[in-house]
Amino acid sequence: MCGVEMSRRSQRIQQRLQQQVKPNISCREGHDSIILEGVVDNWAQVVRAGKLAAHEGYKGVVNRLAVEGLTLPPPRSPKLKDTALDGLHVDVLIVGGGVTGCAVARELTRKNIVVMLIEKEDDLATHASSRNNGMIHPGIEPHPGTRRAHFNVRGNAMYDTVAAELAVPFTRCGSLILYQERWERFLGPLFMARARQNGVPGVHLVNRNEALALEPHLTRDFSGALHMSSTGIISPYLLTIAYAENAVRNSARVSLETMVVDMKVREGRITAVRTNRGTLFPRVVVNAAGIYADAVADMAGDQFFTIHPRKGEIIILDRKKGHLISHVIAKPRLLQVKSDTKGGGVNRTIDGNILVGPNAVEQPFREDYSTDRDHIELMLRRYLPLVPELSPTDLITYFAGTRPATYEEDFIVERSQYVRNLVHAAGIQSPGLASAPAIAEEVARLTVNALGEVTQVGDNPTFDGHRQGIPEPERMTWKERDALIQSRPDYGVIVCRCEGISKGQVVDALRSPISVTSLDAVKRRVRVGMGRCQGGFCTPQVLRIIGEQNGEQLATITKKGGDSFILAAETKTVRRGS
C-alpha cells in the first residue's frame, strides 16, 4: 500500500481518537503498526484509544499513551547477578517460563538442538500460568478466523495425549452455559453456528431437565443450556512445570531468576542477548514473555504490538463442596459473542475445589495481583446462585492474575517480519492454556524453520515425551498407597492436614529436575498450603523440610524468591531500645 494511503488512514484514526478520546492524541505509522502517542487523563482512555485504533489494517497497535501523573513500576527483577551463563551459545533461547514457553521448550527437544529457557522469577508459572481457572476451553468463544479460535480447538484436542504423557491429571468435564428463556431464540442458533465455524466438537443444546440430570445441584433458574463436552480441566501450573521438566529430561536447560536486559541486533538478526547472568548467543530467540512480550519485542527492535494488562480475580471455595458440580457452569453475558473475555462462572478444579470467576478489569499494572473487596463480593453475589448450596462461608481464598492482551485481542504466533531469527508467541491471553499444545507445535515448527536457515537440524533420537510425576497418594487406591509408603516412608508422614499432602511429596518437589527452594514453588508442585487453613499448620513443617533437604537455615527460606523471607530473625537476638 502506498505512502499516501497509509498516512490518510493514520490521519483518520488520529481524528477519531482526538474526537472520541482526547484531542491531544497523535498517531503515526511505523513498523507496520499504528503508534499512539500523547498524554491522557486516565487509563480507561489509554485502553479505549488502543481499541479504537485496532483492526484498521495495521499489523498492530503500539500504544505509547501515558497517563498524567501515573508512573508505572518497572518489571519485578531478579536480585541475582552473576556470569553463570556468560558466553553460552545455544540454538534456541526461549524467553519466558509460562505454559507457552515451557511447552515450546518441550516440543523443541524433539530435535537434536540446544534449547535454553530463561525466566525472570524464581520459579516457572508464577504469572498468568498459575493465575487462571485451569479450564481447557472448548473453543466456542473466540471469533471465527482468529488465531485464538484456531489454536484453541486444535490444542483442546491434544490434551488427552499431552496430559497422559506428562503425567498431569486431566478431565474432560464438559461445560454448561445456562441461559434464560428470552435469549433462547438468539443464543441457541448463534452458538451452534459458532461451533460449526470454529470446528468445536460435541456441542449440543439441552433443555433444563437434561441439564439438571447432568448437574443435579444447579439452580433451577434457567430454561436451557449449551452443553460442550470437549471442555476440560487441569492444573495449569502443574502442566507448565511438567512441560519444563520433560524438556529438561530431554536435555533442555532452564535458568530461573534470569531476565533479559537488552539484545544486540545486527542486519536483521539478534546476535546476542544480555541477561543478569551474562550474555548468551542464541541462533534463534522465542519471545514467550507473557505480560512483557512487547518489551522483549522492543528490545529486538520489533515491537508492533502493546500489551494492555487485564486483571482477573478468582475465588476458591472449600473442597468439601467440590462434589456439588462436575462441569464448568457459566452464564452468558449479553454481549458475550462480541466480548473479549469469558463470562466467568463456577467450576470444579482438578483437585476438587470449587473455583469462582474470573472477572475482567482493565488496569495499568502488569504485575499487580492485589484484590479488591467489592469485586470479590460482586463475584460471590453473581456466581454463587448458579449452585444454591454454595455459600460465601465456603470461601478459603482469592487471588488475581493479569491477562497479557494485545489491542487486537488475538494471539501473535509467527516469525518476526523484521528480525529473521525471532519467533513471537505473544498476546497469549485466554484461551492460552487450552491452546498451549497447539501453539507450541506451531512455534516449534517456525523455530526449526528459522534455525534451519543457519544450521542443520535433525531429530533427537533419545527424545522421550513421557514424564514421571511426583506420586499423588490421594489419587491412589489404599493398596497402592500402602505399597508406596513401604518403599518411601516419607509418604506416610502427612504435613498438610487439609489436603493430606505427605513429607515425601514435599521432598520430591525439592528434588525435582528444576531446582527450586521457595515455599510457593513447593506449593505449586504439591499443593501444600492450598487447603482451608491456608498454610497455617503446614508452613512451619514445610520450612523445616526445605531447611533439612537444602541444608539451609530457616531464616533464608523465602515465600517467592527475592526478599520474601518467611522469618525475620532468631529470637534471643533482637534487642529493642527500652
Binding site: 508422614v493 534487642r575 527500652s578
Partner: protein
C-alpha cells in the same frame, strides 16, 4: 479512683480502688485474692515471666521456661535479657532450676517441659533420638 483488671484468675474482675481513704476501699473482686492483688498492683506490681531458652540441641532449638514465682514488673526486661543469654546443654526436666536468681529478683527460672520429651518427639523424621546420640 484507680481501676484495675485482676489477673489472678480468668475471671479478670474489674477492681476499683479508692486510695484516698485509709485503708483503701477495694471493690469489684469476686474473691479475696483480688484484694491482695489490688494492693500489690498499686504498690509493687509483679508478674510471672514465661518464655523459652536456647538449647544446644539442633533438633530442639528452644525449651520453654518460666519464673518460679513473680518478679517485679519493672524488672521483666532484665529478666528477659538474662533468659536470652542462657543456653541449655543438658537434658533438663520440668521443674529443674536453670537460673537460681534471675536479674537479682531472688526468683528462680525453671524448665516447664522435659527436654528429652521434646527431643524424642520433635525429630523431623519421628525417630526418637536417645540421649547421648
Amino acid at each position: 479512683m484507680r481501676k484495675l483488671t485482676c489477673i489472678v484468675c480468668p475471671n479478670g474482675c474489674s477492681i476499683h480502688v479508692n486510695q484516698d481513704v485509709d485503708p483503701w476501699n477495694i471493690v469489684g473482686n469476686l474473691c479475696p485474692r483480688g484484694i491482695d492483688f489490688a494492693r500489690k498492683e498499686l504498690t509493687n506490681p509483679t508478674r510471672t515471666v514465661c518464655s523459652t531458652v536456647r538449647t544446644s540441641f539442633a533438633t530442639v532449638r528452644r525449651l520453654p521456661v518460666r519464673t518460679r514465682g513473680e518478679v517485679p514488673l519493672a524488672s521483666v526486661r532484665s529478666v528477659m535479657s538474662e533468659i536470652s543469654r542462657l543456653v541449655v546443654d543438658r537434658e533438663a526436666r520440668t521443674g529443674d532450676t536453670l537460673i537460681e536468681n534471675v536479674a537479682g529478683t531472688g526468683v528462680a527460672v525453671v524448665a516447664t517441659a522435659d527436654l528429652a520429651d521434646l527431643i524424642e518427639w520433635e525429630d523431623c523424621d519421628g525417630r526418637p533420638i536417645c540421649s547421648g546420640d
